[in-house]
C-alpha cells in the first residue's frame, strides 16, 4: 500500500479538469517521473502557485474534480509528487476510477463536510491521515484533531489494499 498521510493543500474551486492537472503537451512523456514538475501547471485559480504543492500529500477540493480527459497522467502526476489522496465533494468517473486503479484514494465527502473543512482548516497548517480499515480521516491542526468517517465501496477498498487493478485482475481473471 501507498502512504496516505501528510500536509494538506486546499484548492477552492469546482470542476478542476485533467488538462489543468497535467496539460496535454506533456502527454508525450513515456515515464511517470517526467510529469513531476508540471502538476497543476495550468490551474485556473486566483492566488495559486505551483510552489504551494511543496511537501503536500493530500488535496482537499470541491465538486467534479478530474473532469475532462481520461488521461491517467493526472493521477500519475499526483503520485510522483507523493500526493496519493484527493478529498472532494465529487469526482469525474474516469479520474476517480484511475485513482483507485493506481491504488490511490479519491474520497468523497458531503458538501457540508467539505464546506466545514474549508471554513475551519483552509488557512491553517493541517495534516490528514487516512485509516484504510476504519474508513476514517484523521485531521489535525495546532489547535484541534478530529475524525471524519467516509464511505468507500468494497471494490475500491480492495484496489487500495492490493495496490491497484492490474495485480487484482491478473490474479482473478
Amino acid at each position: 500500500m501507498k502512504t496516505f498521510s501528510g500536509s494538506v493543500l486546499f484548492l477552492d474551486r469546482s470542476d478542476i479538469n485533467t488538462d489543468e492537472i497535467i496539460p496535454a503537451k506533456y502527454l508525450t512523456e513515456i515515464t511517470k517521473e517526467a510529469l513531476k514538475p508540471f502538476l497543476l501547471e495550468d490551474l485556473f485559480l486566483d492566488g495559486f502557485s505551483t510552489s504551494d504543492l511543496l511537501n503536500k500529500a493530500i488535496i482537499v477540493t470541491r465538486e467534479n474534480f478530474g473532469c475532462g480527459s481520461s488521461r491517467e497522467h493526472a493521477p500519475w502526476a499526483l503520485e510522483v509528487n507523493e500526493i496519493n489522496v484527493v478529498v472532494a465533494e465529487s469526482f469525474a468517473r474516469i479520474f476517480r476510477q484511475n485513482m483507485y486503479n493506481c491504488g490511490m484514494f479519491a474520497i468523497e465527502l458531503p458538501k457540508e463536510t467539505i464546506d466545514y473543512l474549508f471554513r475551519n482548516y483552509a488557512n491553517k497548517k493541517v495534516t490528514i491521515s487516512i485509516n484504510v480499515d476504519n474508513s476514517a480521516i484523521l485531521i489535525e491542526s495546532d489547535q484541534a484533531s478530529e475524525k471524519i468517517a467516509f464511505k468507500i465501496g468494497e471494490f475500491d477498498k480492495t484496489l487500495v489494499k492490493e495496490g491497484g487493478w492490474v495485480g487484482y485482475a491478473d490474479k482473478n481473471y
Binding site: 470542476d15 479538469n17 488538462d19 489543468e20 496539460p23 496535454a24 503537451k25 502527454l27 508525450t28 512523456e29 513515456i30 511517470k32 495550468d42 485556473f44 465538486e63 467534479n64 473532469c67 475532462g68 480527459s69 481520461s70 488521461r71 491517467e72 493521477p75 465529487s90 469526482f91 469525474a92 468517473r93 474516469i94 476510477q97 484511475n98 486503479n101 493506481c102 465501496g153 468494497e154 471494490f155 475500491d156 480492495t158 491497484g164 487493478w165 492490474v166 485482475a169 491478473d170 482473478n172 481473471y173
Partner: protein, 434 residues
C-alpha cells in the same frame, strides 16, 4: 421491471461481480492510440506480461500527433507500431492510413450494436451511437483490457433524453448537444449513461448521432447511447453483409439492443427543440452555452473544423456549402482536418477540399492535434479559436488561449466574417442534412 439497453449489454457481458460496486465485463473491443497506450505496453513488459488477450479484438491507431512532430512523439508511435506487429494486431493504422480514432474505427465497421468497448480516451462514448456500451478509461483499465479482455464498471444508471420537434435549418446535432450539456451541467450525468431517443434522433444520420454521443462525457456521462435502427444497419452494411441474409435480418437481430418500455431511469428529460437556435460556448466549461446570436460579433483569431466531434464528411459538406465561392476574413486564419482518410478521400472527390483551399483554409492530414493543443494549430497566449471540437477548457488548445465550441456551419460563417456569426447570414437553406 424492464431493462435499459446498457443493463442488457451488461447482462450479456458480465463475467464477475466480485463486489456490489463492480461489474466485470467481457470486452468485444479494446481501442488503442499512441498517447495512452505506450505506458500500458511498457508496464506490461516490465511486469513480464507482454501479452494480448485477442489480437483480432484490439484495434490501434496513431492519431493525436501525426506525423510525429519530435523525437518523443516518434518514440510513442514506435512503441505502438512495434507492439502491434509483435502481437499480430492486424488492424493498426499507421501514418497515411490513420485518422481520428472515433471517426476511423466506426468507418471500418469495428463498432456493432450490443458491443462493449473501452479505450484510453474519454471520447470513447462516441461509439454508443451504434447501440454499444463504449467508455473512456485510463491507462490501467486499458492495460487490463489488453491483457485480460475485461473491465470493471459500476451499475449503469441511465438518463433518458426524448428529443421531439424538428431542427430548424442551420441547426445541427452539435447545437443540440451543447444545449443538452447546458441543461445537464458538466457533472449532471456523472456515472450515468445518456440515452438519446425520440424522432429527432431517429431522423439523424450516424454522423450526427456520433456528434451527440461524443459529448456525453462533457456532462460527465459514461456513455451516450442511441438505439440501433435501419440507419445503423445501412452505415454498417458493407461490413456485415456476409453475416446476414438481408438488412431486415440484421435489423431484427440488432433490435434486441433497445431499452424496454418499462425500464427504470434515473431521470427522463423531454425537449421539443423546434425553436432551438445555433449554440456556442463561452468561458471555460462546456456547459457555459449561449446562442450564436448572443455571442454575435465576438472576435476570433483562428477557426478550426475537425476532431472526433465534427470532422466527418457530413460536417465538411455543411461547412463547404457555406464557404463555396467565398474567402475567409483577412483578420483570421482557418484550419480544417478531415477526421479520416476516408473522409479526406470523399472530400477530395466531391470538390470540398478545393472549396476549403480556395476559401483560404489550411487543409491538414487527419489528426486530433489542434483540439488538445498538441500540434497542427496550437493557440498563442490570449488568442481565441472558433472550433468544432468538444472542450473549451482554459489552455486546451494552447496555454492562455480561449476556445468557443460551435457547429461546422457556425465555424464556416465565423471564418468568413472573422467574428462569431450565424451561418444563416451566408446561406438561407442549409438544413437538408441533420
Amino acid at each position: 421491471m424492464g431493462k435499459t439497453i446498457a443493463e442488457k449489454i451488461f447482462d450479456a457481458h458480465r463475467v464477475d461481480e466480485p463486489f456490489p460496486d463492480a461489474h466485470v465485463l467481457r470486452l468485444d473491443r479494446v481501442f488503442c492510440h499512441e498517447i495512452t497506450t505506450p505506458i500500458a505496453i511498457t508496464d506490461l513488459i516490465e511486469r513480464g506480461m507482454d501479452r494480448v488477450f485477442d489480437p483480432t479484438k484490439i484495434k490501434a491507431v496513431i492519431d493525436h500527433v501525426t506525423p510525429a512532430k519530435d523525437s518523443k512523439t516518434a518514440e510513442q508511435e514506435k512503441i505502438l507500431r512495434d507492439w502491434s506487429r509483435r502481437h499480430g494486431i492486424k488492424d493498426f493504422f499507421d501514418v497515411g492510413r490513420n485518422g481520428v480514432c472515433h471517426a476511423i474505427f466506426p468507418e471500418k465497421g469495428f463498432v456493432r450494436p450490443g458491443f462493449t468497448i473501452i479505450m484510453g480516451d474519454s471520447h470513447t462514448c462516441t461509439h454508443g451511437a451504434f447501440g454499444a456500451f463504449a467508455a473512456g478509461t485510463g491507462t490501467t483499465d486499458l492495460e487490463v483490457g489488453i491483457l485480460k479482455g475485461v473491465c470493471a464498471f459500476h451499475f449503469p444508471k441511465t438518463i433518458k433524453m426524448i428529443i421531439t420537434g424538428e431542427l430548424k435549418p442551420g441547426v445541427y446535432a452539435k447545437d443540440l448537444i451543447l444545449f443538452i450539456i447546458k441543461e445537464l451541467t458538466v457533472n449532471g450525468a456523472t456515472n450515468m449513461v445518456i440515452e438519446f431517443t425520440g424522432p429527432v434522433v431517429d431522423a439523424m444520420s450516424m454522423e450526427s448521432r456520433m456528434t451527440l454521443c461524443n459529448m456525453a462525457i462533457e456532462a460527465g456521462g459514461t456513455c451516450g447511447i442511441c438505439y440501433p435502427d435501419m440507419t445503423t444497419v445501412d452505415y454498417l452494411w458493407d461490413h456485415i453483409k456476409d453475416e446476414f441474409s438481408s438488412k431486415e435480418d440484421a435489423l431484427s437481430e440488432y433490435s434486441k439492443w433497445v431499452s424496454d418500455f418499462d425500464a427504470e431511469y434515473e431521470q427522463i428529460y423531454e425537449f421539443d427543440i423546434s425553436d432551438l437556435e445555433p449554440m456556442v460556448t463561452f468561458g471555460y466549461k462546456p456547459d457555459q452555452v449561449k446562442t450564436v446570436a448572443e455571442m454575435h460579433g465576438t472576435k476570433v483569431d483562428q477557426i478550426y473544423i475537425g476532431s472526433c466531434t465534427n470532422g466527418r464528411i457530413e460536417d465538411l459538406r455543411i461547412a463547404a456549402s457555406i464557404l463555396k465561392d467565398k474567402k475567409i476574413s483577412v483578420a483570421v486564419r482557418a484550419i480544417v482536418s478531415p477526421a479520416s482518410p476516408d473522409v479526406y478521400g470523399k472530400a477530395l472527390k466531391e470538390g470540398i477540399i478545393e472549396i476549403f483551399h480556395e476559401a483560404g483554409f489550411c487543409v491538414t492530414n487527419p489528426t486530433c492535434g489542434a483540439c488538445l493543443g498538441m500540434s497542427n494549430g496550437v493557440l498563442a497566449d490570449g488568442e481565441v479559436c472558433a472550433a468544432t471540437t468538444n472542450r473549451n477548457f482554459n489552455g486546451r488548445m494552447g496555454k492562455g488561449g480561449t476556445v468557443h465550441l460551435m457547429s461546422p456551419a457556425t465555424a464556416a460563417a465565423t471564418a468568413i466574417a472573422g467574428t462569431i456569426t450565424n451561418s444563416n447570414l451566408f446561406k438561407a437553406s442549409i438544413g437538408e442534412k441533420k
